[in-house]
Symmetry: C2
Subunit: 142 residues, 2 copies
């Protein structure tokens, strides 16, 4: 087994990441991948559809998780010095947060706190909640 | 439909990317994600298991594609200026390249040409070939 990060360090690096990649399952069983912005609160990653031009496209992930809630999220650190490489993965279940709920308002507020870009244009679309069930990581052995 | 890149530009950006993310399907049907280095030749992305400490872990992807060859690959460009964001996705089928075949030797040579890091420590493990079937992309509208 390759070395991983400690549980605390894993969460620190995950929470600090500006972008992650989300894998969902398409209706035909094939994997689907998109980059996304998120905020970590406890064991939950929140993300939102952020702009109108992407709304149609982004909704694919909501359709997918309705049929198959299992998702995988990856944050990886790239460096040309491969001794600096690391990644964090969260496998869990995703669901749309109820529209206009307290949880949705809190998630949007947390996203605006993390991303200045959201402050001038708050995300309008649905909010996705991914509850982490399995946390894994890898760090290069220097 | 959000704007995408032209077919040539999509390939140029994909080929130049230093790292991508690979989504495969686990035996239980859930998605699995790892970052990986690759080289693009025609419609095929080649990657290799690059170091002994990762060998066991990396083999998961080979087991996965043997049972379910459909994979998704994502290259995304991050910027704090969201008008600069873009991504390229390749959906296709993956298979292990025959060991000690001409194709395997060519793939390893191409990987060593793209990544100086491989030149001092050539990848030893199996080589994965992902044949792209659906090419998609997204660019932020400025």
């Amino acid at each position: 087994m390759a070395p991983g990060l400690g549980a605390d360090e894993l969460r620190v690096r995950l929470a600090a990441a500006r972008v992650a990649r989300l894998a969902t399952i398409r209706p035909d069983g094939a994997p689907h991948l998109v980059p996304f912005c998120f905020v970590l609160e406890g064991d939950v990653l929140y993300s939102a559809v952020d702009s109108k031009p992407k709304r149609q496209r982004s909704l694919a992930r909501f359709r997918h998780v309705e049929a198959e809630p299992r998702v995988s999220v990856l944050v990886d650190h790239w460096s040309e010095d491969w001794a600096q490489l690391w990644w964090v993965r969260v496998d869990g279940r995703a669901a749309e947060v109820a529209h206009e709920s307290e949880e949705e308002r809190r998630a949007v507020a947390l996203l605006m706190q993390k991303y200045a870009q959201y402050r001038s244009a708050p995300p309008e679309g649905p909010v996705l909640a991914i509850t982490g069930e399995r946390w894994s990581s890898w760090v290069a052995s220097a």
